[in-house]
Amino acid sequence: SQTIHQWPATLVQPVGSPLSLECTVEGTSNPNLYWYRQAAGRGLQLLFYSVGIGQISSEVPQNLSASRPQDRQFILSSKKLLLSDSGFYLCAWSKGGTGTQYFGPGTRLLVL
């Protein structure tokens, strides 16, 4: 069966510090991968998606970036965090574009 992992689970970072969140998927190959952010009490906002290694599409202009160095690894980064980057970050995968996405446990980021 397929599993998706995210780490860290929780992160507290000062403003201006760098960020690296990692997501890995097991049990499947060539998945579509997605990064979402969810602010408190809000819906999910799609940040990035990837259909293959090195292929990244950005949905929202911001100080975040994403990379996919391996088939089942998706990384969310920032060079300098802003207070507004606080939120719950979720990684998801799907097999092609069927619309059925499976989500990881999430990373709660607090920028102080």
């Binding site: 819906g43 799609l46 998606y49 998801a92 092609g96 574009g97 619309g99 996405q101 709660r108």
Partner: protein
């Protein structure tokens, strides 16, 4: 991508059937309708997906009228543990990136 509209919140009591309706007037021919459930501090969990008529699984039923401009998620005999946010999404079938737009969702509160 088709936009969806669903009630912000709903209340119910244990043992009742709950129906949550979602409007998607601009749904495209190759769009599927998918529902997710999200508990606090967890990633959304896939509930059910359909294209037309009726789909049923061990968790819920999904009713889609012939014009596909709306859909209804039906949860039979809810329990307290069904208290969560429910998202309705429409997206393309296979061959697409699988981009989905999450709205605010419907917060279902089940009371004893």
């Amino acid at each position: 991508l088709a936009k969806t509209t669903q009630p912000i919140s709903m209340d119910s009591y244990e043992g009742q059937e709950v129906n949550i309706t979602c409007s998607h007037n601009n749904i495209a021919t190759n769009d599927y309708i998918t529902w997710y459930q999200q508990f606090p501090s967890q990633g959304p969990r896939f509930i059910i997906q359909g294209y037309k008529t009726k789909v049923t699984n061990e968790v819920a039923s999904l009713f889609i009228p012939a014009d596909r401009k709306s859909s209804t998620l039906s949860l039979p005999r809810v329990s307290l543990s069904d208290t969560a946010v429910y998202y309705c999404l429409v997206g393309h079938g296979s061959g697409n990136t699988g981009k989905l737009i999450f709205g605010q969702g419907t917060t279902l509160q089940v009371k004893p």
